[in-house]
């Protein structure tokens, strides 16, 4: 018999039956860092790049504080070099057949499979997250994402005909993130033919490792480029010529809010506390812990929040097997937090759960929707009918019924409200990196002269310009708000000239108060309209089409006054009528059921109305553009506030006459006036859910800037004209995509 090597502790453990450490060796992660001499630079065009004269930042183990490596702080020219590499790679990558890109993505998945231990130990080592979460979750899902998107690339020519890749995608990662978040964005971008430059905060080696694995695969080295650098390089990346889109990653999941019905409150708290007591925290690389640590900053944040909550009167429960030393923080349950206290409004940090009671499901829905955030929620109930009611009613991107945190590459994840408006994964994720074929590329021009404080602030005064001479009868004077024509708050008018310089008519001069009234009216109509059956929506759009047909001669003669030949004018009216009919027919719900590997049961991909959609119409095509934008918005269940063509709002007002008799009040509101001023009012309105702007480059820039306030989805034209008379640009699928948002509803089944 061989020599014994048993330790002395077995006796003791036999009595206590405690858990011991189950350390995962991170030797391979250290060995990989050694291959770079513990100095990490950028990974660009398939090669490591370590430019001289750069500051460096230490990459530390967040738990022990041990220095693992130094990471370079990139500078502007590093970003430029990476974008250049991505642009060069885009030339060949985007022109490949989808099937070839699919093969390459599959090979990348295989490489990840072969080096997964390195990947998960490195990620756990530098982030402090529990290794089993990275190993069993992130790394597996990363491979699934590549496989799923390989399939999408393979079928791209048929399934995504009429769309083309945008170009170089810039990706900006926050200071705490998981490499999986990066994969959710990189995979669809690569699949459709885009190339990527990722700006990662220094001291995050996993993206660099991924880029290296991809780069060493051979023929397409420049498709993933990673620059390590401070957040201040973000604007540099965004303004590089050739960068078509900048995507932001969310940070790691924060704390949670839990709403519990009063009747089961005690029981739920008891069970929750019992379960929390069994959670184990510890070094992320320990295979037997549930929670790692996210560094001292995250700990301090949680500590501050909990102390404040306590001082505001909340009850705090902490439990679990947690090391006492820094940087660990125990899982914490906060309850009895007064709803009006500052902590109740603030974002809950990890690892804290704030529980509050509610009385009825309706109240729960109001509470859950009453926050600016909207990424995901889970509903737990044994009453399926009620759970579905809540699932449909929640204004979030993902709802899990009786489950939580499930993810699948085929199911889009995204959010609404301030949780962002972009989508990752599933069919929706692909369109984020595509544009309709033939549409011009984005110019990365940002005007330095635009003054955000004064853009559209003042309305130039207008004076009487003589009597009106348009076709009779003239449309009713006023703003079309809440189903009727109302006098503008400013009580003044603006003259509209025709193509020959004569006065065509006067329209009301709308202002901030009129926009406020219009948005309010639109909000009142939202639930009624969204609740209509698709058939009812179709009927209404078709009724409007018929009414416009009857009004054809007036509309055509007004177009003539704007310099359109009679034949062309008639054709434009006819096309407008057709647009209403086409979108009306598409009003049938367009959701679908997705199949996923992770669970038995369906995932529903719902297409829900955005809410109140504001549309600033282009000056050109005063009738066709107005109708082409209105129809998809209504077909998808939105209520709208529209600013019609500034050059000739009279055509829109003609249409309003029919809408006044046909449509429920507030469904469509049309405000005339100074475009820049009205645009400013709409963009700065926090309760407008989305904004489409067709106008100048300056206006577009302002809209994007101002809408960042509530992260409303915007669609801007940047001063580029649009071919409204053509199918692709005037009635293409892009409009439908923009007019609704996706929600994924997970419905696990089992007896």
């Amino acid at each position: 018999m061989a020599a014994t090597r048993a330790g002395p502790r077995a006796r003791e453990i036999f009595t206590t039956l405690e858990y011991g450490p189950a350390p995962e060796s991170h030797a391979c992660a250290l060995a990989w860092l050694d291959t770079q001499d513990r100095l990490l630079g950028h990974y660009v065009n398939g090669k490591w790049s370590k430019p001289e004269h750069r500051n460096s930042v230490p990459c530390q183990d967040p738990i022990t504080g041990e220095n693992l490596a130094s990471c370079l702080q990139g500078q502007a020219q590093d970003v430029a070099a990476a974008v250049e590499a991505a642009r060069t790679a885009f030339e060949s990558w985007s022109k490949l057949p989808g099937a070839v890109r699919a093969q390459h993505l599959t090979r990348l998945a295989k490489v990840i499979q072969k080096h997964q231990r390195l990947l998960w130990t490195l990620e756990s080592l530098v982030t402090g997250r529990a290794v089993r979460e990275v190993r069993d979750g992130d790394v597996q899902l990363a491979q699934q994402l590549l496989h799923y998107h390989a399939v999408q690339a393979h079928t791209q020519e048929q399934a995504l005909a009429g769309w083309e890749p945008m170009g170089v995608i810039g990706l900006i990662l926050p200071s705490t993130f998981s490499f999986l978040e990066m994969m959710w964005r990189i995979c669809p971008a690569l699949a459709v033919g885009c190339t990527v430059v990722a700006l990662v905060p220094p001291a995050s080696p996993t993206p660099l490792l991924l880029a290296q694995l991809a780069g060493e695969l051979g023929p397409f080295p420049g498709i993933i480029n990673v620059i390590s650098g401070p957040a201040s390089l973000g604007p540099v990346l965004a303004s590089q010529p050739g960068v078509q889109k900048v995507a932001f990653c969310g940070a790691l999941e924060g704390g949670l809010r839990l709403l519990v019905q009063e009747s089961v409150w005690e029981e739920t708290m008891r069970r929750l506390q019992a379960r929390m007591a069994r959670l184990r925290s510890g070094r992320g690389l320990d295979g037997a812990v549930d929670m790692g640590a996210r560094g001292a900053a995250a700990r301090d944040l949680a500590q501050r929040y909990v102390r404040e909550a306590q001082s505001q009167g909340a009850q705090v429960f902490q439990a679990g097997d947690v090391p006492l030393d820094s940087p660990f923080y125990p899982p914490t349950l906060v309850s009895d937090l007064p709803p009006a206290s500052p902590c109740a409004q603030a974002e809950v940090p990890w690892p804290v759960v704030v529980a509050s009671p509610f009385r009825t499901a309706k109240e729960a829905l109001a509470l859950a929707n009453g926050t600016p955030r909207g990424s995901s929620a889970s509903v737990w109930s044994e009453r399926l009918g009620q759970a579905l009611e809540l699932g449909y009613g929640l204004r979030v991107g993902t709802v899990w019924i009786n489950s939580h945190g499930l993810r699948d590459p085929a199911v889009p994840i995204g959010g609404c409200k301030e949780s962002g408006s972009s989508w990752h994964g599933g069919p929706d994720g692909l369109y984020e990196y595509l544009r309709p074929s033939g549409t011009p590329a984005r110019l990365s021009y940002l005007s330095k002269n635009l003054n955000y404080d004064t853009f559209g602030l003042a309305v130039p005064s207008t004076l009487p310009a003589g009597p009106e001479t348009g076709p009779t009868p003239a449309p009713p004077y006023g703003l079309f708000v809440g189903g009727r024509f109302q006098a503008p708050g400013a009580r003044s008018s603006r003259p509209i000239q025709d193509a020959f310089g004569n006065l065509h008519g006067y329209v009301a001069e709308g202002g901030a108060k009129d926009i406020r009234g219009a948005v309010e009216a639109a909000h009142q109509a939202t639930s009624g309209w969204a609740g209509q059956s698709p058939g009812a929506r179709t009927a209404l759009l078709w009724a409007l089409a018929a009414a416009l047909e009857r009004r054809e001669s007036t509309l055509a003669s007004r177009l003539e006054r704007q310099g359109v030949e009679l034949k062309a004018a008639k054709a434009e009216v006819e096309l407008s009528v057709r647009r209403l009919r086409t979108w009306g027919a598409q009003a049938e719900a367009e959701g679908q059921t997705l199949q996923v590997a992770a669970l038995r049961g369906p995932v529903l991909r719902l297409r829900e109305p955005l809410g109140v959609l504001a549309i600033v119409c282009p000056d050109e095509r005063p009738l066709l553009a107005f109708v082409s934008l209105l129809a998809p918005a209504l077909a998808h269940g939105n209520t709208v506030v529209m600013v019609p063509s500034g050059a000739c709002p009279l055509l829109a007002l003609e249409v309003c006459q029919d809408m006044a008799t046909l449509f429920p009040a507030g469904l469509v509101n049309v405000v005339t006036g100074d475009r820049d001023h009205l645009t400013r009012c709409l963009a700065l309105h926090q309760d407008v859910q989305a904004l489409w702007y067709f106008g100048s480059a300056q206006g577009s820039q302002f809209v994007e800037w101002a809408s960042a306030g509530n992260l409303k989805p915007v669609w801007v034209s940047r001063g580029l004209p649009r071919a409204w008379e053509q199918e692709a640009e005037g009635a293409g699928p892009e409009l439908g995509l923009r007019a609704a948002r996706t929600k994924a509803l997970w419905l696990p089944m089992g007896d």
């Binding site: 061989a2 077995a10 006796r11 453990i13 036999f14 011991g20 189950a22 038995r600």
Partner: protein, 275 residues
């Protein structure tokens, strides 16, 4: 058995209110096996602990007094003495929790245990095992006879006819299955049973025991079962009065793992005594 479940007024609403979230149970079952690895000395200690929960079982048609005797000897000396010494555990009196045999073999087991000076209980399956489809009168008589022969624990097969028609019975211990079914002890089923035990404890203060049986063959499995009970019910359930593992071949795999832990080598078949 420490204290008997004195029983409570039958309240069927407790049962009718129970809802099982099947996908969530499956997920939890997967997690328990992945999240609580036990290594090195901890593994050795846990495995020895697992030995003390085993109802060392032989339930074969061809059981005779000879193999029952061998079983009882193994129950008394489950792990080779030198291995225990190496772990400094030789004086802990480690035995299995009980031996479990058919009613007709209870006599043999009692006699054999007495002969080796071992005071562990003899458990007997009774009541028309494994189907339970015999008359109530013969089932009761079977229990009486087994007890007369010296069995101190009886694994009663409940009448599944009654269960499937919603007529429930109470007990001191609940067992996953007879071990003779095509599917026996699985983690998802165990989670549901353990939660029921916990709910009953919260409602009445009575602790009901738990015995998974059938298909638990590897040392690794037994560790997962221990952590499952630890996670769901807590350490207070980790004692032979409240937790048993019904198994016949598990013990030899545990012994092999202990051998490996102590020596750093994998044991040959002939290195360990058979039961």
């Amino acid at each position: 058995m420490s204290t008997h479940n004195q029983g409570t007024e039958l309240d069927l609403s407790w049962i009718s209110k129970i809802q099982v979230n099947h996908p969530a149970v499956l997920r939890r079952a997967g997690q328990i096996q992945a999240r609580r690895p036990v290594k090195k000395e901890w593994q050795a200690a846990w495995l020895l602990k697992a030995v003390t929960f085993i109802d060392l079982t032989t339930l074969s048609g061809d059981d005779t007094s000879c193999n029952v005797q061998r079983l009882c000897y193994k129950a008394k000396y489950p792990i080779r003495e030198d291995l225990l010494k190496a772990l400094n555990m030789h004086d802990k009196g480690i035995t299995t929790a009980a031996v479990c045999v058919y009613p007709a073999r209870v006599c043999d087991a009692v006699k054999a245990l007495k002969a080796v000076g071992c005071d562990i209980p003899v458990a007997s399956v009774a009541t028309g095992f494994p189907a339970g489809q015999t008359h109530l009168k013969t089932r009761l008589e079977e229990i009486r006879l087994a007890v007369e022969d010296g069995a101190t624990e009886i694994d009663v097969v409940i009448s599944r006819t009654l269960v499937l028609t919603g007529q429930w019975e109470g007990s001191d211990f609940i067992k996953t299955s007879t071990g003779k079914e095509t599917v026996n002890a699985t983690f998802p089923v165990a989670i549901v049973m353990l939660r029921a035990i916990r709910d009953f404890f919260w409602k009445t203060g009575n602790k009901v025991g738990f015995k998974p049986a059938g298909g638990i063959r590897s040392a690794k499995d037994s560790l997962a079962w221990l952590s499952l009970v630890k996670e769901e019910l807590g350490d207070e359930w980790l004692k032979p009065e409240l937790f048993r593992i019904g198994a016949s071949t598990l013990l030899s795999d545990i012994e092999r793992q202990i051998y490996h832990h102590v020596t750093g080598r994998y044991a040959a078949y002939h290195d360990l005594p058979m039961s």
